[in-house]
């Protein structure tokens, strides 16, 4: 208990120095947490994937479509409960900065396959009735102020021209990890227009979404699907939804890795700062530590004092940093528009932040405490700050 008293009072000796050090740690822990959350957000799609859904695409790449006629053959494959499909639209809303995913989907089947998109039944009915209707996520609606009945213009890039859709439904996410920034409309509407403009491109889909009843059979069913279409005009590649999403992440994995590395760099930066603080404080108190040793206290007691001071400063500041992560994350995501659809601070991130604070406090104290413990008493008594 005495040790604690000494530790606390020592920490408050140089209030400005301790305050600055804590500020630095708060910023570092906060930045670390935010960056880890950014990395988590990158994997949000993969984490939200269902293990009972498979995605079938053209084996060459996503750029190539699949014929819609595959649907019937897919339905007949054993293990597949239902089949839906979607086309990536890639349109522009006003200007390129407003990026959000847009899909032309099979209205009858798609939303049954994705129960995490919660749509009020009467809104879904309205959507099904209106060929030009669209279903938008709550986040998009809030961001752009869209309400039911609004007409949304999109400029096509893959399917060129000016398109208009009417908001018939707004969906909410079932979980916090559900993406509510997606724009869906009817595949039939798209197909009709393509039929008129580029007949050769009509009746093709981007991906098929397959619902299976047993998650364990995923690999087997995927193989079966691809075998069915081997040596046809459009060969397929079928994988679990999670693998499909991870494929996207891996395409930008260099960026993700860079962010991860940078997030640890900030910890190193602040570790240097805190090590400096502890080194300076210890040096100033060398004669006091020597006095304690002269009186008869063991080197272990000194270690306790120094590590204790370092850890208390680091952990208090670290906790503040953790607590601030939540409001800062909310502000951050509000200002990045549609860049991050899901941005949740996970409990694992908080644990890592606290762990980082612990490491900072520990490492910073190592050299100073060894120095104080090993120093000869006589020379310590002679030492002047």
């Amino acid at each position: 208990m005495y040790a604690l008293k000494l530790i606390l009072r020592n920490a408050l000796r140089h209030k400005l120095r301790t305050a600055l050090t804590m500020l630095g740690i708060v910023i570092a822990v906060l930045a670390f947490g935010l960056l880890q959350t950014v990395v988590d957000a990158w994997y949000a799609g993969a984490n939200a994937a269902s293990d009972k859904r498979l995605i079938t695409r053209n084996a060459i790449s996503l750029v190539f479509p699949l014929p819609i006629s595959y649907r019937d053959r897919l339905r007949q494959i054993d293990g597949i409960k239902s089949v839906s499909f979607a086309n990536w639209f890639g349109g522009v809303y006003i200007n390129e900065r407003n990026f959000f995913p847009q899909f032309a989907v099979d209205p009858q089947t798609y939303f049954a396959l994705y129960p995490e998109y919660k749509i009020a039944p009467e809104q879904l009915k309205a959507f099904l009735r209106d060929r030009r209707g669209c279903v938008v996520g709550r986040k998009l609606a809030n961001l752009y102020g869209w309400k039911l009945g609004d007409v949304i213009p999109l400029r096509g890039t893959i399917y060129t021209g000016n398109w208009e859709f009417v908001v018939r439904a707004i969906y909410d996410g079932r979980d916090t990890s559900t993406d509510t920034a997606i724009f869906f409309f009817q595949w039939d509407y798209l197909n009709e227009a393509i039929n008129r403009m580029y007949p050769r491109r009509a009746n093709s889909v981007g991906v098929f979404v397959l619902q299976i009843d047993e998650a364990d059979r995923a690999a087997e069913i995927a193989r079966k699907v691809d075998a069915t279409f081997k040596n046809s005009l459009a060969e397929t590649l079928t994988e679990t939804e999670k693998a499909f999403q991870l494929g996207f992440v891996s395409m930008t994995e260099a960026i993700v890795l860079a962010i991860r590395i940078v997030s640890f760099l900030v910890i190193f930066i602040i570790m240097a700062v805190m090590a400096n603080t502890m080194a300076m404080s210890t040096r100033e108190r060398l004669s006091e530590y020597a006095t304690l040793k002269a009186i008869g206290f063991r080197p272990g007691f000194l270690l306790l004092l120094i590590f204790g001071e370092s850890l208390i400063i680091a952990l208090i500041a670290g906790t503040v940093g953790c607590l601030l992560t939540f409001p800062v994350a909310r502000t951050f995501v509000a200002h990045t528009g549609t860049l991050f659809h899901v941005f949740n601070v996970s409990s694992q991130t908080i644990l890592m932040q606290l762990g980082a604070a612990f490491v900072i406090g520990t490492v910073a104290a190592v050299v100073p405490s060894l120095r104080a413990a090993r120093q000869g008493i006589a020379e310590g008594l002679r030492a002047i700050g």
């Binding site: 600055l20 930066i269 090590a275």
Partner: protein
């Protein structure tokens, strides 16, 4: 009369551990700052180098990337016969009608997928791109299932090495050569015969038309004509401008993310410098009193301490920059947001970046040292001496 420079310099050397730690923190921040700017510069230089100023690239109006564009044979034919198109020595039009698609390839080692650009080029395709040189093997034979790959693609992706085959469109394609595109975007592409590829992919339309202008200044006239022609639904850009625009989104992302991080990190380094300088002032209070008593003005004291802080910044900056320059040996590849295609680029250190990094470092030192230096300057001589 100013306090001698050596005073500031030697004081840094006296407290080695403290100086080292403070400088180290600064160096790490400058490292992050420089590396980010270098990555952005590398990206831009890769894409800028990808096109020629003398070439015009024609794509479908409003399409964005070549992958999304479609130009049918009739329109391509009209574009080909425009008067501004240059003729080569054999009086052939320097035009390449090309198809551009993405194929999903697996990276060697990790087996993870990435979208790689496959470009079908016309007979003038190589001539239109003088920066591209064959470095291994040979050119593909027109009309065959042979392809050539950028050297970086050959190294990183399974099936793209010399002599290896890729399978798509129900055919096997053999890689017969590797090319070096002078660190431009083409290094991340695979090229083949446009007609063969269009057949394999069941495409009837080209993606784009590339042509050389006989006079670079004629571009505006060319652009007006093709974009105003009622038979055409196209847009024309100088090839270099087209590819530079393709990097905008990614470059901006890197820049914003990187600068935000650098600023956040810099607060840590500034705090570190502040702590160090406050301690320096506190420990040398008697010394300051002595200097004042001797006759040095408070302004000189201010400057002496500020100089120490600036030196910490400068040394940290130089160290961080030196570390960052090592990144030039690292190559970076990721999917370009705008084209959905894999793009390899590297870190490029420019004189401008070096200057910006050093300025950033010195400013950090300044911010960290200002308040402590003011405190030192404001000490009353009497109080300072009494503290001895």
């Amino acid at each position: 009369m100013p306090v001698p420079f050596s005073y500031s310099l030697r004081n840094l050397a006296v407290r080695k551990l403290t100086t080292a730690l403070t400088v180290g923190g600064m160096a790490l921040v400058v490292f992050v700052f420089s590396t980010v700017l270098m990555l952005e510069a590398g990206l831009r230089s890769t894409l800028v180098g990808t096109g020629s100023y003398d070439n015009a690239l024609v794509t479908r109006r409003g399409s964005g990337a070549e992958v999304q564009s479609a130009v049918d044979r009739v329109q391509a034919g009209i574009i080909e016969t425009q008067p501004e198109v240059m003729l080569d020595a054999q009086s052939q039009r320097l035009v390449s009608k090309e198809v551009v698609v993405l194929i999903s390839l697996r990276k060697r080692g990790s087996d993870r997928p990435a979208n790689v650009v496959i470009r079908g080029i016309g007979p003038q395709g190589m001539a239109l791109r003088p920066q591209v040189q064959l470095v291994d093997g040979r050119m593909f034979r027109p009309g065959s299932s042979e392809i050539i790959a950028g050297r970086s693609i050959g190294e990183r992706f399974a099936g793209a090495g010399l002599g290896e085959t890729l399978r798509f469109g129900m055919r096997d394609w053999t890689v017969v050569g590797h090319f070096d595109a002078g660190r431009s975007g083409f290094d991340s592409e695979i090229w083949g015969d446009t007609n063969q590829l269009m057949q394999a992919f069941r495409r009837t339309m080209y993606s784009s038309v590339l042509l050389r202008l006989s006079d670079a200044r004629a571009f505006d006239a060319f652009k007006r004509r093709v974009e105003g022609d009622p038979r055409l639904t196209v847009e024309a850009k100088r090839e270099s401008v087209f590819y530079a625009e393709q990097s905008e989104a990614l470059a901006r992302f890197i820049r914003i993310l990187g600068l935000t991080l650098s600023i956040i990190f810099s607060t840590g380094a500034v705090i570190g410098a502040m702590i160090t300088m406050y301690a320096a002032v506190a420990n040398r209070t008697a010394e300051i009193g002595t200097l004042r008593a001797i006759g040095f003005r408070s302004g000189s004291i201010l400057w002496a301490f500020l100089l120490e802080a600036l030196l910490i910044g400068a040394i940290g900056g130089a160290l961080g920059l030196a570390l960052a320059s090592l990144m030039q040996f690292v190559s970076f590849s990721t999917m370009n947001f705008q084209t959905f295609a894999e793009l390899a680029f590297s870190f490029k250190l420019t004189p401008a970046i070096a200057v910006q990094a050093m300025l950033f470092a010195v400013v950090m030192g300044l911010l960290g040292g200002l308040l402590p230096a003011l405190r030192a300057a404001r000490l009353k001589v009497v109080d300072a001496l009494r503290a001895a």
